[in-house]
Symmetry: C2
Subunit: 113 residues, 2 copies
DNA sequence: CTTTTGTGTTGTTTTAAATCAACAAATATC
DNA sequence: GATATTTGTTGATTTAAAACAACACAAAAG
């Protein structure tokens, strides 16, 4: 936000779709649990306006607000596998390939620190 | 965000863990693909500074930036199942239960519009 | 009908997110 | 060794996200 990024101003279709779907899913989960926006927003620690933005799939909203919604709804577990290195088959192949000069590669460790 | 939300200032452990893990996963995927921060950031449409924040798991960064990173790395598909109503067993049970007075319930439709 | 609750909208204020520049440090490449 | 690239950090600027108030409307409850 602020100095709004290109990715937020006009996200690629794939990102926009995920965002809209996520917002609708959060709304569905809220209604199923018979929670009002105000009620759920309070549990998350945000205002009802931000929760409304989330349900609309607003791109510029802080990721913590989205994750907080999932958490408050008991759905945060769904995030655990996202981008899991063990499931990143393409990445594993690229790593295994290790072609002599694909790019500058600088860090010795790949996993973390 | 400004007027920093409680959820961003001090996220619950579950949210913080997901955030840190997600950042590390994105970093791992980037390194496997031998992309520099600047290179990947350009593809995403953000600055290298924001990508650095993402890899650190910064809570206040726009969700579109995170999703853009996943998209640019070919990992956006992992987001499609998050909070999927079909998988929300607890929500389905609550909906089926329909106890006489659990909350004010206001909207007729539960799925979307 | 009246009251209550939930939601949508608009405008205002606050304030920190995103960017950029410049430098230092680390790593890779030659 | 020297050079190029990547990354980290710090400080300054820009600007829109988040909160808030106030209103209207819808739907449910009395």
């Amino acid at each position: 936000m602020t100095r709004i990024s290109k990715i937020s101003k006009s996200p690629p279709a794939a990102v926009e779709n995920v965002l809209n779907q996520l917002g609708r899913n959060i709304r569905t989960a809220r209604l199923r649990r018979k929670l009002s926006r105000e009620n759920l927003a309070e549990r998350i620690g945000i205002s009802r306006y931000v929760l409304a933005d989330i349900e609309k799939g607003k791109p510029t909203t802080a990721i913590a607000a989205y994750l907080g919604a999932l958490w408050a709804l008991g759905l945060i577990r769904d995030m655990r596998e996202v981008a899991d290195p063990d499931r990143d088959e393409e990445g594993k192949i690229l790593e295994r390939a290790r072609s002599p000069k694909t790019a500058p590669k600088r860090r010795k460790m790949d996993d973390d620190f």
